[in-house]
Symmetry: C2
Subunit: 347 residues, 2 copies
């Protein structure tokens, strides 16, 4: 069943825009035949690309604008001068209800700033978090915050836990997700104050998920929990370390299969199995980070991705919108959110 | 040329002590025939193990003690009650000058606490840092702090840079090492205050290394700089993420080579090349984290390592001691350390 939704696409964002945006939409169209797209950007460049995709034509509307946010633009400048940019207009479409979500491969800082100002935060959430799925030994988990904030307190981490669990429940379909706090050791006495305080809050509250306790960096690959909660500074460095390590290992493997005639023959024999493995760790498969905590579905695609990667980012937006993730988060926050009010006053 | 040094070994620390400690010493003895070892621990258990290694016998002295620090002991308790532990006595041997360095596979927190109290900090260094080499595409780099501190300010990061550069110069033999600060982006405006302030200090000072600027997580695998400076919380999570990702990738590869008859045959053909690759990423090769900034050479081996891994940790201690790393650091700090004193007063 394909959801009936409209997704706004910033057709001018990313290294290979608008080409990969249109091609990505065409790929997503196959997976979600009933989803419609509004492409924001330069009509003269977008229209001929849409023409090349017979089936896409009926699914898209082009909303012309001359203006686009460049990848180097500082967020504050983009916010002030980019009122008519493809990025801002696409966000506006979500704000007005015309679209159920937006996908952009453009400037991350500008997208976050514009989305925060236009869409605002969900009630009960102080700061947004960047969340993305990551591959594990047992499937996939979601990790947040990946860099929306460089500082944060215990309350922020608690809210990230609520947001991440809602993502795991709606998008991954996990009934009772497990949530772990990334720390320097599993023992209660270890770690930063904010992390230890967040753990104490999780332990004393009624929660819509299972709080696992502290987890460490190697628990990510092991998939020990469904949701990894971490401050945005550490999360950003960790995410990029993960990507870099996969690249390093792949490079070592490439060298290995070139190192002798036997090794080359070996590669030839195992090429299908190795292609499957490559697909499993393909970063394009995990493309599409989402800004959780905003009153609207916003998905950021990697700037250098191709059409396949962009289509996957669209898939994240469709999954989130089709599952009404923000409605879900608001209901959960109403039930499980800030519980410092004494129970007697609530009843 | 093998250096003439004595290394103190905590024979009772780690999951497989004293067996792997003695076997590790025997392996290290082959690499460094002139190095002597003092083994601290239960003589009744150690002596029969030493007997098994003909060539080791003349290179070791056993210093008997009944007491040992357990792996679960809290550092404060170990410090109070472990005065006669194998760990503390081995540290004392460094403090008295009897040994040029100590290696322990025991309780990290206890080792750090005891080493700090007994050996004290080098003048000009406020806090120690845990440093370890990590494999990169182009060789190896050193990263610090990996968890000695969970909080820290700009001055700490600057000192870590000095310590890491001294390690790269003496142990790696790099004439003018490059130093990078791990951050969430390469731009100057990004990141935490402490990281940005540390960058500003590096830029304004005369330095015995090249300050590269900010680096990101994926620069670790790429080997963009020789020294990666990071706060201990982030560094610890990053290090364990690296280890976990390598394990995940290896598991995927194992599954790949079992997935079909062709793949199995392929494994057979490439087994030598694959064994070389495994050796390249073997965590035992990178075993041996060092506590930099202390007035004494202290190396922590992974608790679960084997004799090969322990021998590599001994190798790190020998390299550091043979190169007089702490003398080197003190000279550098005297020349390039805190430069807030106006030049006129210095001259």
């Amino acid at each position: 069943m394909s959801p009936r939704l409209t997704i706004a696409l910033d057709a001018m964002g990313g290294d290979n825009a608008p080409d990969i945006v249109v091609e990505g939409a065409a790929l997503a169209r196959v997976r979600f035949p009933d989803v419609r797209f509004i492409l924001f950007g330069d009509e003269k460049r977008i229209a001929p690309l849409v023409e090349q995709h017979e089936k896409l034509k009926d699914s898209v509307t082009i909303h012309h604008t001359d203006d686009a946010v460049s990848s180097e633009e500082r967020p504050t400048v983009a916010l002030r001068q980019g009122r008519n940019s493809s990025m801002q207009l696409a966000i506006n479409a979500v704000n007005s209800g015309e679209a159920a979500g937006i996908v952009s491969a453009g400037n991350t800082g500008a997208l976050m700033a514009m989305a925060k100002v236009s869409l605002k935060m969900l009630p009960g959430i102080d700061r947004p978090a960047i969340a993305a799925p990551c591959p594990t030994k047992v499937g996939e988990s979601v990790m947040l915050d990946l860099g929306a904030n460089v500082e944060g307190n215990a309350d922020n981490l608690v809210q990230f836990g609520m947001l991440g669990a809602a993502f795991a429940r709606t998008v991954f379909g996990k009934e009772e997700p497990t949530v772990g706090l990334l720390n320097v050791g599993a023992e209660e006495v270890k770690g930063r104050d904010a992390v230890r305080q967040a753990a104490a809050i999780f332990k004393e509250r009624k929660l819509p998920f299972k709080f696992h306790g502290f987890v460490e960096g190697d628990d990510i690959g092991a998939g020990t929990v469904d949701v990894f909660v971490v401050d945005g500074f550490t999360g950003n460095v960790v995410l990029k370390t993960l990507e870099g390590t996969v690249r390093l290992y792949s490079e070592y493997l490439r060298q290995t299969f070139k190192s002798s005639l036997f090794a080359k023959l070996s590669y030839f024999l195992a090429r299908r199995a190795l292609a499957k493995m490559r697909a499993r760790i393909d970063p394009r498969r995990y493309n599409g980070a989402t800004f959780l905590g905003l009153n609207g579905v916003v998905v950021k695609s990697h700037g250098g991705t191709d059409a396949f990667g962009f289509a996957n980012a669209i898939g994240v937006a469709v999954d989130m919108a089709a599952n009404d993730i923000n409605e879900f988060i608001m209901r959960e926050l109403a039930e499980y959110g800030d519980q410092e009010v004494p129970q007697a006053q609530v009843g």
